[in-house]
């Protein structure tokens, strides 16, 4: 765990208490059972926003607390531990696009509403099943945006979309010319293919040529923070289980084969935490962001992949049941591994950044 200041510790403790007491995995089960397409509890999200969590990276003048990405990551990590379904990550990433690229008017119009939770926003970048920001066909002509976006996170609940077109990022409001088709994925969260057909669009003119990459790097580190919470939770739950489950008249935790596997996972998790926290800190520090964010998401992908698989294996048969939570982490894990860069995408990006 990175060394935190007092504000950050308070924020993390508050998020931990709330997630543990008010938003355990049973709450996610309720969301799933409700079958509602937006797939989160709107009252719970309103409470989260009231606690200030939607404004952690938003400047104070626009209604946020401007604590930065490490702080936002602490909250997201705690929520990831209990699989709390909410548009917090999507909205925070979309807000960062406006913070980086928005005009004063755009900031004044949207950031206070995002910070208060009144407006939900999300990124719409990719046009296929794989993350590929170099293959964007969406175009804008005369302020009207046309194109298709695939597997947009939190699309059903979103009022505002930050959409990648060939020549940059645009803000598009829900409404005329915007339609969606639900794509139900294993994580039972909100995903949709979107069709923008001459939808009114306003360009984010600021942020320079690297705006899209900068926003995606923020998406990568914050998604990695959610994955870190999930990996930590699966590890902790699995360790507890090994200490309780008895076979051959021994608790499983006494078997050396399992001890060594857990030692390996513990080391993996240590690397993942270091990489993710360093990624968040790099965004706050504004130095070496692309490199650090690539490492953060690549390590998050690698380690959560392994831990989510081992979580099932080490639980044995009970891990295969819907009644037990560990399977939910596996099903969310793969969706997030794919988001904003699979392992192969990120390795290619790492090599490109290092000029080989």
């Amino acid at each position: 765990m990175a060394v935190l200041n007092e504000e950050q510790e308070m924020l993390r403790d508050m998020a931990r208490d709330w997630a543990t007491n008010e938003s355990p995995v049973t709450e996610f089960r309720k969301v799933r059972a409700s079958g509602e397409p937006h797939a989160y509890n709107t009252d719970a999200y309103a409470t989260m926003a009231e606690m200030g969590w939607a404004g952690v990276i938003i400047p104070e003048e626009h209604g946020g607390s401007d604590f930065g990405f490490l702080s936002a990551g602490l909250v997201v990590e705690e929520l990831g531990k209990t699989l709390t379904a909410s548009p917090l990550v999507a909205t925070t990433i979309a807000a960062s696009a406006i913070v980086l690229g928005g005009s004063d008017e755009q900031k004044a119009k949207w950031l206070p509403k995002l910070a208060s939770g009144e407006t939900v926003a999300t990124l719409a970048i990719d046009e296929g099943a794989h993350h590929d920001p170099s293959a964007i066909e969406t175009s804008v002509s005369g302020g009207k945006l046309t194109g298709k976006k695939a597997f947009v996170h939190e699309a059903h609940g979103a009022d505002l979309f930050v959409v990648a077109a060939k020549d940059g990022l645009y803000l598009v409001e829900k409404g005329d010319g915007v339609s969606l088709t639900t794509r139900k994925l294993t994580d039972q969260r909100s995903h949709a293919d979107m069709n923008f057909d001459g939808a009114a669009a306003e360009k984010l003119e600021g942020g320079g040529d690297s705006l899209l990459d900068d926003v995606l790097d923020r998406a990568r580190v914050l998604t990695a923070a959610e994955m870190l919470g999930m990996a930590q939770q699966v590890f902790d739950t699995t360790l507890d289980y090994l200490k309780q489950r008895v076979q051959f008249n021994q608790v499983l935790a006494t078997f050396q084969a399992l001890q060594h596997r857990m030692a390996d996972l513990f080391a993996d998790l240590a690397q993942m935490r270091s990489a993710v926290e360093a990624g968040l800190q790099a965004v706050d520090g504004g130095f070496g962001v692309a490199h650090a964010a690539t490492i953060a998401k690549a390590e998050a992908n690698r380690v959560l992949h392994t831990i989510s698989n081992q979580g099932i294996q080490l639980h044995g048969g009970i891990g295969m049941t819907d009644e037990y939570d560990v399977g939910f982490y596996l099903k969310r894990a793969r969706v997030l591994e794919s988001a904003w860069g699979s392992s192969s995408y990120l390795k290619d990006r790492y090599a490109k950044l290092a000029s080989y």
Partner: protein, 403 residues
Amino acid sequence: MATQLEPDIHADEDAFRTEVQQFLAANFPDELKNKGNALAGVDGPTDETPAMTAWREAVGERGWGTPTWPKQYGGGGLTKAQAKIIDQEFAKAGAYNPIGGMGVMMFGPTLLEYGSEEQKMEHIPPICRGEIRWCQGYSEPNAGSDLANLQTFAEDKGDHYIVNGQKTWTSGGQWADKCFAIVRTDKSDKHRGISFMLIDMDAPGVEVRPITMISGTSPFCETFFDNVKVPKANLVGEEGQGWTIGKRLLQHERTNISGGGRLASMMGQSLGDIAKKYGETDAAGELADKVLRDKIADFEIRWNSFLLTARRAVEESKAQGGVSEISSVLKKLGTKLSQERSELLIEIRGLQGLGWEGEEFTDGELEAVRGWLFGKATTIYGGSTEIQNNIIAKRVLGMLDHQ
């Protein structure tokens, strides 16, 4: 001089920095610039030139090779901040620390903690001056990972012991003046029957035979003790306390193996850059061998997250005032990754990367081959990876022993 209740730390540090710079200007011989310290390695000494001797004596006299050790035993008696300044200024000047070896890395810190006043006065000052080489008498043919199974026996003869037995993997044993050893003083108790004592390597009955390793080098020895007389004054701590003291010393060893700057400097050059020299690149300037490129990136990402973990362990230790729980994983991760890097380096160079000798190979290529082979030892010594896994599982994760 007036006594200051609250000294101006920054002014003091600036003054000290100037003092170090002046010392370097006056004492560091140009001809040694960017050379390594022969005494610090286990590959054996090179003959000391007069310049090297003068440099060792100059640093040793001030205790600056062991800057934070107490002054009364020959250390520098300096603060950590001052020690850092010495590091920085030496590095800037291309000067090596001529005081090193196992005496500095492992034995000295342990003796300062457990030794008697007489022992500290006798043994620490020569370490600080770089006059004495120490070696480690721990492993035996039947006591490797199960170290407490050691059988070398020290029989009580009143004012001295008579030691019989065999040690192995004695790093630098052929060049050492003295040996810190754990030996059995009681055959009835596995752990509490072990004592920590100091043995002169030139005492009658000590025989050393270098072991040739797969890398072709002989950094390790077998050491035989045949009725070797060891005065009781050379017992460190109490009889039976050797296991406790010996384990404490191993913590210093692990810190040195995993976190060491040696590892970091070894990893300096990007494998991608090396691969571009040895292989084809495509129109985009990328490695044409995409499979290899993927392997290199995969490795370098994990290597980066290891470095970040090492840094985090230091930050956490400082903030908590104790050892971070992730320190336990550093040895395991660092050694595994450095082995992986050596393997990748061979894959990048092909057969040009497997040269044993000959002018057709560069020094760098030949060193990498020997390093690859010798590096296999890193996951075995200092507590093998399997032992580290036991430690992590039991001490950190609270997984129990078989009942």
